[in-house]
């Protein structure tokens, strides 16, 4: 019978050597960079075409996302149904995502079908037509979806906190309204497409078990396109709200309130950023965090409470987010500030410090497990103009950070006066 009162010995995860496997880097003859990892047990492939075509670049609300979304709804020779049916016939998924800086077109498929599928991906990024009818349906459906989302307190809160933190004109704080969606025209999409897809700055990330002629396939289908043009980043300035505290009454039948408490934070180049990632984990970034421990596991005010640093390129924000029972919203907000105060006044003890270090190292070990995970680490570095040194520096900070540094950091950033506070019921 084992002695259950004694924990088995562990190897501290901070003693693990975590190596980010390199990815293969090539350039197509037009200069388009391709980063890929050819590995894995399953016969699957993922190719992600990342364009500098996010909503930073739009001059009219909603145009970037509409362009990205409708890029597969009709080309010169195929209608929307034919295109979708084509990809689905091969069991492939063609997804589109639009972010602030970038917009991507991503293909997931069985590797054996790449040869058939890639020519049609090329067609989408060279011959999209954006038929009027497709745009109309997109607009109608977006407006309907928006009307439902606007009834949800969490959706409303997420929009508003970003607006307070960046300003309503900033791409990180801007939101689409019904009339914005109504105003999008086919001409808007065609001109955005021409500017950012036909003459694009595109980077390609891929992972999977590829055929031997994978590089030739990419070259044949994409090597002659204008995918390596200069697209200058557009810089925006933060225009934060003047009022710090906000209350919105959104749903008279609401039984919970959405709470957001957030402050501006610099971008990841800032020397405090990596340390803040650590402090954030301890504060509200994992299941065992201070916020979860107190507000969920001790008080039972909420199903979950989290804090995070927003994943933006130019600048960031540090946000606490939760949905709590209507009658305990104020108590929840008070406890968030109490937890900040504790971090400002009392040094984190050695045991908790080691626990968070080990937890984060274990997490990082899992983050680089398998080709799909590894390429997504590389992608996140490359899109932020960083290299593997940043990855290793992050690990070094986790290993070396001290409770004194955390105390200093808390006193610098976890200061209630700097936070915007929002409650939506």
């Amino acid at each position: 019978m084992p002695n259950r009162t004694i924990a088995p010995p562990i190897k501290d995860a901070i003693d693990f050597d975590i190596i980010l496997k390199p990815c293969t880097r090539i350039s197509l003859s037009n200069g388009t960079p391709v980063y890929y990892i050819n590995d894995g047990a399953e016969e699957v492939a993922m190719i992600d075409f990342v364009f500098e075509a996010g909503n930073n670049y739009e001059t009219k609300n909603g145009v970037a996302i509409a362009t990205n979304n409708l890029v597969k709804n009709g080309t010169s020779s195929k209608d929307a149904f034919q295109i979708t049916e084509f990809f689905e016939y091969y069991g492939a998924y063609l997804s589109r995502k639009c972010y602030n800086e970038t917009a991507s077109i991503t293909l997931h498929c069985l590797a054996k079908h790449l040869k058939e599928l890639l020519p049609v991906v090329r067609e989408l990024i060279t011959e999209a037509q954006f038929p009027e009818k497709e745009l109309d349906i997109f607009k109608q459906n977006s407006i309907q979806r928006l009307s439902i989302n606007l009834q949800k307190c969490d959706f409303v809160a997420n929009r508003l906190i970003d607006e307070y933190l960046y300003g309503p004109e900033h791409p990180y704080g801007r939101v689409s309204t019904k009339s914005d969606i109504e105003a999008i025209s086919r001409e808007n999409l065609l001109s955005f497409y021409k500017q950012f897809y036909l003459n694009a700055k595109c980077r390609v990330f891929a992972a999977g078990k590829f055929p031997v002629d994978f590089e030739q396939l990419l070259e044949a289908h994409f090597g002659d396109l204008s995918l390596n043009e200069k697209v200058l980043p557009i810089m925006f300035s933060r225009e934060m709200a003047i009022e710090k505290k906000h209350f919105i009454h959104n749903d008279k039948n609401g039984v919970q309130g959405a709470i957001r408490i957030g402050r501006p934070f610099p971008s990841r180049e800032h020397p405090d950023f990596k340390k803040a990632i650590f402090l954030n984990t301890l504060f509200g970034g994992y299941f065992g965090s201070r916020l979860m421990g107190n507000i969920r596991e001790d008080k039972g005010y909420t199903y979950g409470i989290h804090s995070y640093l927003e994943n933006h390129v130019q600048e960031s924000s540090w946000v606490v987010s939760t949905e709590a029972g209507k009658e305990v919203c104020q108590a929840t907000i008070d406890e968030v500030y109490k937890e900040m105060e504790l971090l400002r006044e009392e040094p984190v003890n050695e045991e908790e410090l080691l626990l968070v270090k080990n937890y984060m190292m274990g997490l990082n070990l899992g983050y680089i497990d398998g080709p799909f995970q590894i390429i997504s680490r590389w992608k996140s570095l490359i899109l932020n103009d960083l290299d593997e040194n940043y990855f290793y520096d992050t690990l070094r900070v986790i290993k070396e950070i001290t409770s004194e540094e955390l105390l200093q950091l808390s006193n610098k950033y976890l200061v209630p006066e700097d936070f915007f506070e929002l409650l939506v019921i």
């Binding site: 019978m1 084992p2 259950r4 009162t5 924990a7 088995p8 562990i10 190897k11 995860a13 693990f16 047990a41 699957v44 149904f81 979708t84 049916e85 689905e88 016939y89 091969y90 069991g91 997931h108 498929c109 069985l110 349906i137 109608q140 459906n141 309907q144 979806r145 009307s147 439902i148 606007l150 009834q151 949800k152 307190c153 749903d251 039948n253 039984v255 919970q256 994992y286 299941f287 065992g288 596991e297 001790d298 039972g300 005010y301 909420t302 199903y303 949905e323 029972g325 080691l354 626990l355 968070v356 080990n358 937890y359 190292m361 274990g362 997490l363 070990l365 899992g366 497990d369 398998g370």
Partner: protein, 414 residues
């Protein structure tokens, strides 16, 4: 092909090991054969509430999460109507920590009054967040209750009513634990950078001395065949009218289950599916429409639900759906359509198997169904399905007497 080995301890605990030397991690998955279908109708939501209590400390270990995090691990759990699953991932070198933690809570919980008190509140907030504080959040409570008159699938995992969770007491918690959380009612799956030999030793060391307990024999009243179409209407302050329709289908181990799976794909899988193409794109009656099924072990439900475009009536929209379903009954689907669905299934299964966690979870799921090896033979079943079978199955499923319909009307005026 996912390779694994299986052995059984004397106390009835089934252990499955899947070696993958390419990863530095290990996954440990403990699946208990208990879900909301094992609850009493007056005490619903209990299996799920209990899942929360499994983290409130066990016989010799005050906190479950902290030692695991200290070992570089992370965990979570979920409860369905059929089963409860606890899973964790950690660096393979620290795997013994997982055995220590999981075996201690299989021995016995601490049964802490305070933990029950807090988790009751947490689950009530979860109930509000997921089902009450969201437009249409209560639709599935109503639909289950409409579709099932006898079988415990008539309530959601979260429970029928907030009061059931509010009233849960410690004695019930204890009874539930000793009835369902026994080794013979559990499956331990270990995957990752481990060896079968090592797992055999660890399983013997940590789990072998847990008493077998009394074997729980499930005795659930099965749902009688529905004999009349059922209809329900509600009017709420939601922005759009919504329509829900569902039909009874076969249980998980029946060949007809796979037919239903293919039928839902043809009708609602992806943007080239029939309902999307016809009702969202061509007729523009819905702004979105879905067709899926519950994926349950006992006979479940296939459903269609969608939000209506402003100006379209529920009656018109329902008729348009029925027209599409009638086509499935009267005309054979095309060869290309069936091939498409089979190709999608093949690719979906391959993508699922990329993640170590998914592989472990699938093995446990199939073992719970009776044989972990089903994981490797399921694709063959899909491949063998014919167009004739699909048409026959549509004729069985899509009849009025087998159907329950919910009109969810909007009271919001523009």
């Amino acid at each position: 092909m996912i390779k694994f080995e299986k052995f059984v301890l004397d106390n009835g605990l089934r252990v499955i090991v899947h070696e993958d030397r390419s990863t530095p991690m290990a996954v440990v998955d403990v699946m208990y054969d208990v879900g909301a279908r094992d609850e009493d109708e007056e005490h619903t939501g209990f299996a799920h509430l209990f899942e929360h209590l499994m983290f409130g400390g066990s016989l010799h270990i005050e906190s479950y999460d902290e030692p695991l995090q200290m070992a570089g691990g992370e965990n979570n759990a979920y409860t369905t109507n059929d089963l409860t699953n606890y899973y964790l991932q950690l660096p393979a070198e620290n795997i013994e920590t997982a055995f220590w933690l999981e075996s201690d809570r299989m021995c016995s919980l601490a049964f802490n009054e305070n933990s029950l008190e807090v988790q009751r509140k947490v689950v009530m907030e979860e109930f509000k967040e997921q089902y009450l504080n969201k437009p249409y959040g209560d639709a599935w409570h109503m639909l289950r209750d409409l579709s099932y008159k006898v079988h415990p699938y008539k309530w959601m995992t979260i429970g029928k009513d907030l009061s059931h969770i509010e009233n849960a007491n410690l004695q019930e918690v204890k009874n539930f634990f000793f009835k369902h959380y026994t080794p013979s009612n559990a499956i331990l799956t270990v995957a990752g950078n481990v060896s079968v030999e090592q797992i055999k030793q660890l399983a013997e060391k940590w789990f072998a001395d847990i008493p077998a307990g009394e074997k729980y024999v499930r005795n659930i009243k099965q749902e009688p065949v529905q004999k009349e179409g059922r209809m329900m209407e509600v009017a709420e302050e939601v922005p759009l009218d919504a329509l829900y329709k569902c039909w009874h289908i076969a249980g998980r181990l029946d060949r007809r289950y796979y037919l239903a799976e293919i039928i839902t794909e043809i009708l609602g899988g992806g943007a080239s599916s029939r309902l999307f193409q016809s009702l969202v794109k061509e007729k523009q009656m819905f702004s979105n429409i879905e067709c899926s099924h519950m994926g349950s072990i006992d006979p479940g439900l296939l459903y269609v639900d969608g939000k209506l475009m402003k100006g379209v009536t529920l009656e018109t929209a329902e008729n348009a759906i029925i027209v599409e379903l009638e086509k499935m009954k009267s005309e054979m689907i095309s060869k290309v359509e069936l091939e498409k669905v089979k190709n999608k299934t093949e690719s979906m299964l391959a993508f699922e198997d990329i993640s170590l966690m998914n592989r472990a979870n699938s093995l446990a799921n199939y073992e719970l169904l009776g044989d972990a090896n089903l994981m490797n033979s399921e694709l063959e079943i899909y491949q063998s399905i014919t167009r004739e079978e699909i048409m026959e199955e549509c004729k069985r499923i899509f009849v009025d007497t087998n159907c329950s319909t919910l009109y969810y009307r909007s009271t919001v005026k523009e």
